[in-house]
């Protein structure tokens, strides 16, 4: 796996803060957290009208290739470019997955 850079961690914390509020700023961003984030991004059919899903070259089956820095960069650009409404729409589905994010952030 290509290591997650500090800038990438900061970007993903900002996305998660849009969904979960400021407490997500203290979460440790690791591969487990990114996998959950990918699961959340793809969980909501009713929110997907706000934007296309994650760019296809970076998805294998239904799983985002988080180990690839190129894939992470593409997803960050994709979400920064008009993803705000989509992330807000994910708040309710995100609340259901919040305890899993807590555990993933702690490596549990």
């Amino acid at each position: 796996m290509e290591p997650i850079t500090e800038q990438e961690k900061q970007d993903f914390r900002e996305f998660l803060s849009t969904i979960y509020g400021p407490q997500a700023n203290s979460w440790n961003i690791n591969l487990k957290v990114l996998e959950l984030f990918g699961e959340l991004l793809q969980s909501s059919a009713s929110c997907s009208r706000y934007m296309d899903m994650v760019p296809r070259p970076f998805v294998a089956g239904n799983v985002i290739k988080w180990v690839s820095r190129q894939a992470r960069g593409a997803i960050i650009r994709h979400l920064k470019n008009g993803g705000k409404h989509y992330l807000i729409c994910l708040r309710a589905a995100g609340m259901r997955m919040k305890p899993q994010f807590y555990l993933a952030s702690l490596g549990l």
Binding site: G21, Q23, S43, S44, A45, S46, C47, C89, L90, R91, A92, A93, G94, M95, R96, M97, K98, P99, Q100, Y102, L103, L106, L108
Partner: protein, 175 residues
């Protein structure tokens, strides 16, 4: 006369065996009660049983996490502020009651959207209402009461998750 004696002897044997079986059931019930560890009292209002053992306790503003090799449990208290953050003006009780029974708003429908497993509502011996589902890695439970201004969420990840969830249903109570 011999037949009567045989019948009486048979009845004594049957009653003795039944007595032993009842005694065993009682011991199993006692063992079930004793299998829980201590209790966790959330916001001074709700008591939930803790697992038998744990190595770490991690405290956050809105959650407590305990972990042991083989399992972890997240206890969260969801207040009105968190419900408002996701876009609903309902109380936590009304929001979750609606989510698990007749979801109407977009937020209520989205909460369970994508969930692959069925929501269960076990009978409760107390005034608390319990709803739980398999979240893919364990069990996730919500404890509701219309006298509370918050809802408790208990998420168990790991082995023996049904045993712990049953223990929560049996032993949780309002303070």
């Amino acid at each position: 006369m011999k037949i009567v004696r045989n019948i009486i002897a048979f009845l004594i044997i049957v009653l003795t065996i039944q007595g032993c079986q009842l005694n065993n059931i009682k011991h199993e019930a006692d063992a079930e009660r004793e299998s829980t560890g201590g209790e966790l009292i959330l916001k001074g209002r709700v008591s939930v049983p803790l697992p038998e053992s744990y190595k770490k306790v991690l405290l956050d503003d809105q959650a407590m996490i305990i972990s042991e090799s083989g399992y972890s449990v997240v206890y969260r208290w969801i207040d009105k502020k968190e419900i408002e953050f996701i876009g609903s003006n309902k109380s936590p009780y009304d929001f979750f009651k609606s989510v698990f029974n007749t979801p109407t708003s977009d937020e209520e429908k989205r909460f369970l959207e994508g969930l692959k497993y069925k929501v269960h509502r076990p009978n409760s011996p107390t005034d608390l209402e319990f709803y739980y589902f398999d979240n893919g890695v364990g069990q996730q439970m919500y404890i509701l009461s219309n006298v509370l201004s918050f809802v408790i969420e208990v998420t168990y990840k790991g082995d023996d998750n049904h045993k712990y969830i049953n223990s929560v249903v049996t032993h949780s109570k309002l303070q």
